[in-house]
Point group: C2
């Protein structure tokens, strides 16, 4: 499809990184600088938007207590903006394809013959542990890791997340609200004594690291947004870090 | 420990991203700009080093046919440079803690009371699929993914990688040399008809995408470096992409 400027339409689907505004890529900054429109979700830090000073900014994330846009409404906004502007950027926290529903937006635009160019971001699933100094893999300790959503669609009749993951390290995103249920499920397959930790507000100034085990981490005082990490790499981290840890 | 400039020593452990020199973070660029020394592995693209124009560059990666540095030698170089310079950057492809042996380097420096500050990078395990437009998660198709090394230390008597991963998407790094053995192991737990694809030279100009199934992908013409992705998200990608695919 051809846009207002007579060119093939392309929408940029861009990852903003895990929170710290400096953890965005050079490539993302370059498309933000030429953006006419930026359609963005709740970002950990809106300072990122300063890279698009002349763009129209459209917020489509959740707002406490207010109606927020459904995925259908967001898809419609994307279509309209793509048809009426030269450079449209769809900006998402982390990486656009790690639980970002980016794939659904690509499929919507594809149906109207609009191409998407995707620019990866540092996913919080890895970027947050790395920033605090927690290695998700470590020679002799972890040769694999699994990333899973802790917040499965509650309307699903059959749960897709089974918690029987055999990877050495398990990283759970968006799961603090259901941490009790999730850790109980995991304990069906994994020793309750397995080291675990929660990183709250990762990469941001109010970052907090809470240490425990799979068996007791759910009883700790934890606030969203936070990431749960389960596995022996948590013990390696303990040995490595100079950070203040909460027990 | 105190360095030459009379300050607490800090070594920066920095992820360079998956290959495309623009997929480096702003934070990484900022420490490269002030670096006195950059100690780097084989990078997918050395253009990244242009951000450190005044630094001494020390290559510690592999060179075809030549002796390369052991991890002990690299650790020794890190220690020496940390003691004799103000700003030392240890630069690794992708993210420093995703199969990068970053943890071992942190532990070495820690023993000498040298702190490490870690700066995450876009890991190729996610950044490469996202760049070609392949979503590693997708609503209703994949709520979890596992990243695993395909090249386990051959000297190990007991293999740690078991290939019984239950996550919806499996991403195998550095596994092209052993793709036949690895896919055979995976077929013990997963249908040979499961969609699979290989992305060669991801994010670089000679990128190539080879499509198949878990059962037949090992018979295709594939060259390293490449990433193997197994799971139904490969079918979602087929529906979404405008890229040239090789069958």
């Amino acid at each position: 499809m051809i846009n207002k400027a007579g060119e093939e339409m392309v929408v940029y689907l861009v990852g903003a990184g895990p929170g710290d505004p400096e953890l965005i890529t050079l490539k993302a900054i370059k498309v933000l600088e030429k953006a006419d429109v930026v359609i963005y979700d709740r970002l950990a830090n809106e300072e990122i938007l300063k890279h698009a000073p002349q763009a129209k900014l459209i917020y489509v994330g959740k707002k406490a207590g207010e109606h927020y846009k459904s995925q259908d409404e967001i898809n419609q906004i994307l279509l309209n903006e793509a048809k009426n502007n030269d450079v449209v950027v769809r900006l998402k926290g982390g990486d656009p394809f790690v639980f970002g529903r980016g794939g659904e937006e690509v499929l919507t635009l594809k149906q109207e013959n609009i191409d998407i160019e995707t620019i990866p971001g540092v996913t919080s699933s890895i970027g947050v542990p790395t920033t605090v100094g927690l290695p998700v893999t470590h020679r002799g300790v972890a040769t694999s890791f699994t990333v899973v959503t802790g917040h499965e669609d509650p309307t699903k009749t059959e749960k897709q997340v089974k918690w029987d993951y055999t990877a050495d390290t398990i990283i759970v995103l968006m799961g603090i609200g259901q941490i009790k249920e999730n850790t109980e499920e995991m304990m069906k397959y994994r020793d309750p004594k397995t080291p675990a930790c929660v990183i709250e507000s990762g990469t941001l100034p109010d970052e907090r690291i809470v240490m425990g085990t799979l068996g007791d981490i759910a009883q700790k005082d934890i606030k969203s947004p936070a990431i749960l990490i389960v596995g022996n790499v948590v013990d390696v981290f303990k040995e490595m870090t100079s950070k203040k840890l909460v027990y």
